[in-house]
Symmetry: C2
Amino acid sequence: MAVYTDITEGQLRAFLSDYDLGELLSYRGIAEGVENSNFIVHLDGGEFILTLYEKRVNERELPFFVGLMDHLAGKGFSCPRPVQRRDGGAIGHLAGRPAAMVTFLEGVWPREPLPAHCEGVGEALARMHCDVGDFAGRRRNGLSLCDWRPLFEQVGERADDVIAGLAAESRAMLDRLEEEWPQDLPSGVIHADAFPDNVFFLGDRFSGMIDFYFACNDLFAYDVAIALNAWCFDADHRFDRQKGAALLAGYQRARALSDAEKAALPALCRGAATRFMLTRLYDWIHTPDGATVTKKDPAQPLAWMRHHAGVSDPGAYGLSE
Amino acid sequence: MAVYTDITEGQLRAFLSDYDLGELLSYRGIAEGVENSNFIVHLDGGEFILTLYEKRVNERELPFFVGLMDHLAGKGFSCPRPVQRRDGGAIGHLAGRPAAMVTFLEGVWPREPLPAHCEGVGEALARMHCDVGDFAGRRRNGLSLCDWRPLFEQVGERADDVIAGLAAESRAMLDRLEEEWPQDLPSGVIHADAFPDNVFFLGDRFSGMIDFYFACNDLFAYDVAIALNAWCFDADHRFDRQKGAALLAGYQRARALSDAEKAALPALCRGAATRFMLTRLYDWIHTPDGATVTKKDPAQPLAWMRHHAGVSDPGAYGLSE
C-alpha cells in the first residue's frame, strides 16, 4: 500500500496530451498495489486508474500484461481495460517510469471473504482460463517449481532465524514437490495472484479482477490451488471446507476440472503455499527494517503448507463427487 | 500519506445505513492526509471522501471542524461539505473511530506552485476570513506563541543533535517573538495550515481548500504569514518576491490588510516559520525510526525562519504601496 512516485500536474498533463480524454479534473494517489504507484484520475472523458510501473516490473513484459487485460476485456471479462493513446499504443512514460491508464472498476475487495465470494472468484478464474484460449501472448512463470529451490537457497539457514526448523522443513517440501509435481495438465495464461485484494465484488456478485502483473503460462489447476490457499483459510489458518467447496463449484460451473487435475490438487496446493511462503521468507530477510513496504509474514503460507502436507484426498478441499 | 485504518465492507455498509446515499459501489484508500485515514467512496448518490479520524484528532473538536466546513460551504466557499445523516448529524463512528463523509472536490494541488497559484490561495484565504465573520464556533490555537516555548523545551538541547546550534538559535528567536508579537490585529477563524497540498486548482483557477483540522481562532494576518512561508519559497529556500506579491495581491482583492497588519508581517512570518520548524523538530526527535509516517525535515522551515529574521520592511514580501 503505497505511492512510491508522486507526479506533478505538468508531468501528468504532458502524459495525457497523447490521449483523447478531455480536461484533467483531479488525481489522487491511492493506497493500492504493493509493486506500483497508482492514481485515480478524473477527466472530462471519465474516471481512470493511472499506474506507474516501479522497478520490480520489467518494462519488456508490459505489452504482455496490457495485451492480456485488453484481450480479456474484449471477451467481456470484467477487468481494467487499457486506454489507447492517439497513436494506438497503451504504454507511455511519466516521471521516468513506464505508465498506463486503465478503466476504473467499481467494486470492493472482500476483507472477510464469504463462501459466496469464493464461488465468485472460482467462476471468474474459470472464465479467464477459457477466455485466454486464443490469446497469443506468452510469459514464463518466473516463480514456478524450478525457481523455488534457487530462491530458497538465497535464504538458506537464515530461514531458521525466522522460524525454528524452517530450513530443513522447506528442503523436505521441495524434495517432495519435485517428486510429485504433475505433468501434462491443461495449461495456459493464469492470473497467479488471485488473492482477495485483487478481486472486486458488488455485494456478493463478482465485479472485476485486477493486478495481472504476475500473470504467466502455467497449469490452470495451479491457479485454482493458489486461490484455495488465498481464499479458503480462516484467520486461525484452518481450512474452511465450505469455502473450498464453493470455490471449486464456482470454478466448475464455467470449466470442468479433469480427473487428473482433481487428483493433482493436493500437490498443487502444497506447491502454491510453498511459493508464497518462499517469496515472503525471501522478502522478510531481504527487506531492510524501516522500509516503507509492509512485510508479509511467511508464517501464514507456512501454515497453509503444513495443512496441505497432510492432504492426499482432493475431496478434503470440498470437491463434490 | 497513509491509510492507518482499513475497513471492511460490512463496517462501511453499517456506517452508510445512516445516510440516504444509495448503494455502495466502491471504496479505495487514498494516500492523502498525514493525520487521518481517507477513502474515496462511490455510491449511487455520488462520490465522497470518507475520513476516519485517528487519535491525534480530538473527537470533542470535530463538531467545530465539521461545522466550519458546513458554514463555509454554505457561504459558497469551495471546500468539502459534510454530508448529513438521516438524523441530521454529520459525525458517526466506523472501525472504532469517529468518521465523517464529505463531498468530493475536483482539482489538483500544485506540486510546483506558480504565481497564479499564490494569487489564488491568497484570495481564497481572504474569502474564508470574510466568510467566518458570522460563524459561531471557536477553537483556541494550540500552536500559538505561548505554546512554542514549552514545545521547544520538550526537545531542548537535543535540537543540537539535529542541526548544530539550533537550541540557542531557537531560544533567541522565541525571545524575539515574545517581544515583538503584534496585539490587537483583526482575528477570527483561520485555516492555519494552507500549504499547497491542502489547496486544489483546475489549471490556474482555485477549485477548493481541504483539511481544516488545524483551523482555530487567531490573527487573520498570521494565516497570510503561514501561506507566505508555505507557497513563496523556492526549492533552494529563497523567497520569491513575485510569488509573495501575487499572494498578497490576491488576498487584498477580497480583504484589504490594515497598516498595522502590513507592518506586522515580518514578525508574523518569523512566527509562522518558527511554529513549523518547532513541530517538525519535535516530530523528528519523537518519531521512532521505521515508523510508516514520513518525517518532515525541520531544515526547510528553519531556512524560512532565518530569511525572515533579516526582514524589517514588509515591502520585502512584495506588498504593493
